[in-house]
């Protein structure tokens, strides 16, 4: 695949802050001075991230809980609007589009959620869950809906005869297939999978991962695959971005990242994946936990846990810079070398 193709989804300088308020007026400032109005608690969920997904490409997004990977996925899907930065779908900025064009652009990117129990309406039959959006968007009509739904279910490996059942009558793996059928029913070009296999048993997980790969070959789908499971990421993805506390700290093709991890955080993360061929391991650990995104550490966010932290890391934010072909890392150590 050529890396020069126009990106399907392009996030530029995207930031998302939760709890941020518009600037205070005169009255608000006066109240604050008197201590009657406390400054809001702002969570810096995503902080200046650039990420592009090209047609047919599988991009992995890894990081610990609270690093902002799900927020970024939701921004890419259009479920959240970024506080700063722009989201372009097929070269068009999402926020600049008017009603119909905007709807069409948002249909291109669909989401598959982690919890197949919570993401399906328990009171709707599968036929309605899968068919409703397609009918509303004019991809099928009332007469053809039944056949359309059957075709969608068939594609994800479910028996179309089950379409009149309710979600609780299915197993976890089957429910995840329903979620995928629902996402595919509006004919997207890209799926954002937010921990889509995390809740499944290994044998079922393998079935769903195989389904994702089949769909990619069949429909040329692109994926943004959000996961904390590096084994899954390594198997599935072309390119990986590693996030830490709202920032991308390293991004590289998957083989390059696993062969030559550059950022100390990536190296620590890779060292800690439990592996089936390692027996009676002495688990070596990076100390501490991910800090709160409400008060992130100054400079490089990783410096309090980094074994190689320098004074400079405390004061200066490292930028994401290329260190090899298609391999970028945000670490001051690369300057010293």
């Amino acid at each position: 695949m050529s890396l020069t193709t126009l990106p399907l989804v392009d996030l530029q300088g995207v930031s998302k802050r939760f709890g941020a308020q518009p600037p205070l007026g005169v009255f608000g400032q006066a109240l604050r001075r008197l201590g009657w109005n406390t400054p809001p608690v702002v969570t810096h969920a995503v902080d200046g991230v650039d990420l592009a997904v090209r047609p047919g490409e599988v991009v992995g997004l890894v990081g610990e809980s609270g690093c902002g990977k799900s927020t970024l996925g939701r921004i890419a899907t259009g479920l959240l609007t970024p506080t700063e930065g722009s989201v372009q779908v097929d070269g068009q900025p999402l926020h600049g589009l008017n009603g119909d064009a905007r709807l069409a652009a948002r249909l291109r990117v669909q989401m598959v959620f982690q919890d197949p129990f919570a993401s399906l309406n328990p009171r709707l039959r599968v036929s309605r869950i899968v068919g409703e959006a397609a009918r509303l968007h004019g991809l099928t009509d009332a007469a053809g809906e039944d056949d359309y739904v059957s075709a969608q279910l068939q594609r994800v490996g479910l028996d179309p005869a089950l379409r009149h059942r309710y979600p609780h009558q299915f197993s976890g793996g089957q429910r995840q297939r329903i979620g995928i059928a629902r996402a595919l029913a509006v004919q997207p070009k890209m799926l954002v999978c937010d921990e889509a296999v995390a809740a499944l048993d290994v044998s079922i997980q393998a079935q769903i991962l195989n389904l994702f790969m089949d769909l990619r070959d069949e429909l040329g789908l692109a994926y943004l695959f959000i996961s904390h499971d590096l084994g899954v990421i390594r198997h599935l993805c072309d390119r990986v971005a590693v996030m830490y506390l709202g920032r991308v700290v390293e991004s590289a093709p998957v083989d390059e990242l696993f062969a030559r991890p550059n950022h100390p955080y990536t190296r620590a993360l890779l060292a800690e994946i439990p592996r089936i061929d390692q027996r009676r391991t002495a688990f070596n650990t990076i100390r501490g936990e991910i800090p709160s995104p409400i008060t992130p550490p100054s400079g490089c966010h990783f410096h309090p846990r980094c074994p190689q932290a320098m004074p400079r890391c405390r004061s200066e934010v490292p930028t994401l810079r290329g260190i090899a072909i298609h391999h970028a890392s945000a670490c001051h150590l690369n300057d010293a070398a």
């Binding site: 610990e64 044998s203 997980q205 499971d229 198997h235 083989d255 439990p274 061929d277 650990t285």
Partner: protein, 338 residues
């Protein structure tokens, strides 16, 4: 300890059934194993395989409609199932402890950590509150919690998920139990936190000679931690052996399928992005269990013989601890990718 070492735990033909309106579910169907002092057993299986209920049965925590209906649970030679409730209660939390998957469900949300820990200490020892609090602080420090004094004053919701699980584990460790049953305690945690907790557990078990049953669906975690692995399927142990035997030389088709469906295991043999080997079908409904081998409907090796119920194989001469419940055991067949 006498000359002939009594194992910490021995299960003999444990039967736990759930009596529901739809019928009787044999959730644990004849589970037997022996766990020596200081050893770590990884109990592996998928959802619904009965691995957690095995843990609950040992603890005596099976709630109606479930009932432990047969077999023996020998803890240091004494059958727990024959004991009175008072006797079992004296052991539980003192000599035998359990750690659960969700620490928020273990900890009382309206009590501070110190209240809960002191209560646990005083439930089994008559010590002063001051001494109990000191012991609580020491145990928290042992679990790698910095600033133990501040953590003691906190409520559970003020702690992160990883810290809560450390507190829950510290409570289990308070009395230095001889047996710990850990039911997926790191499943909900990040890899970095998981590695930290595994590392603490490993050190503690080794230092104190505690026996540990680590219940998990994740073979990779168990690979690094356990001495032995028992694989459960539909209420029965289908393969049991040392970590190396089970993972490097699996004999049961189900174990082979489990290992084969791991993306990391496929990496060694196949190119990236290739199809994962998957186990066909789904786990059986316990209400309509096949009469013979429960895995037969999904098994490529199934034959007419599988209509009878397979028993665990007798230990063989070259691998005495490796046993398998299968009529057609054998190494992985070389097969074309599906």
């Amino acid at each position: 300890m006498s000359d002939v070492e009594v194992p910490t735990l021995e299960l003999r033909d444990l039967q736990t059934r759930f009596h529901t309106r739809d019928g009787v579910l044999p959730v644990v169907d004849g589970v037997s194993f022996t766990l020596a002092r200081g050893k770590v057993l990884g109990l592996v299986g998928e959802s619904g395989s009965g691995k957690s209920v095995t843990g609950f049965s040992i603890m005596g925590l099976v709630d109606p409609p479930g009932r432990v209906e047969g077999g023996q649970v020998l803890f240091q030679g004494r059958d727990l199932l024959q004991m009175s409730n008072a006797e079992r209660r004296a052991l539980r939390g003192d000599r035998i402890a359990m750690i659960f998957q969700d620490p928020m469900a273990t900890l009382n949300p309206v009590l501070r950590v110190d209240t809960q820990m002191i209560e646990t200490v005083q439930a089994h020892r008559s010590v002063s509150t001051m001494a109990a609090r000191k012991q609580a602080a020491d145990t928290l420090a042992l679990m790698g919690l910095s600033n133990a004094e501040e953590r003691l004053r906190a409520y559970p919701h003020q702690l992160s998920g990883g810290m809560r699980q450390r507190v829950a584990i510290a409570i289990a460790l308070l009395h230095g139990p001889d047996l710990i049953i850990a039911d997926e305690p790191t499943t909900a945690l990040d890899v970095t936190i998981q590695a930290q907790i595994l590392s603490e557990m490993q050190k503690l078990v080794a230092a104190r000679g505690t026996s540990l049953i680590w219940i998990s669906h994740d073979l990779s975690v168990v690979a690094g931690l356990a001495d032995e692995i028992a694989v459960m399927y539909a209420g029965r142990i289908v393969e049991h052996g040392t970590v190396d035997q089970v993972l490097d030389d699996p004999q049961h088709p189900y174990t082979q399928g489990l290992i084969g469906s791991l993306p990391s295991a496929n990496l060694r043999t196949q190119r990236r992005g290739a199809r994962l080997r998957q186990i066909a079908g789904m786990a059986p409904n316990l209400l309509q269990m096949p009469a013979g081998c429960a895995f037969a409907p999904r098994c490529a090796r199934a034959s007419a013989a599988c209509a009878a119920r397979p028993e665990m194989s007798a230990p063989s001469a070259d691998a005495p601890s490796h046993r398998v419940r299968c009529f057609h055991p054998g190494p992985v067949a070389v097969e074309a990718p599906v």
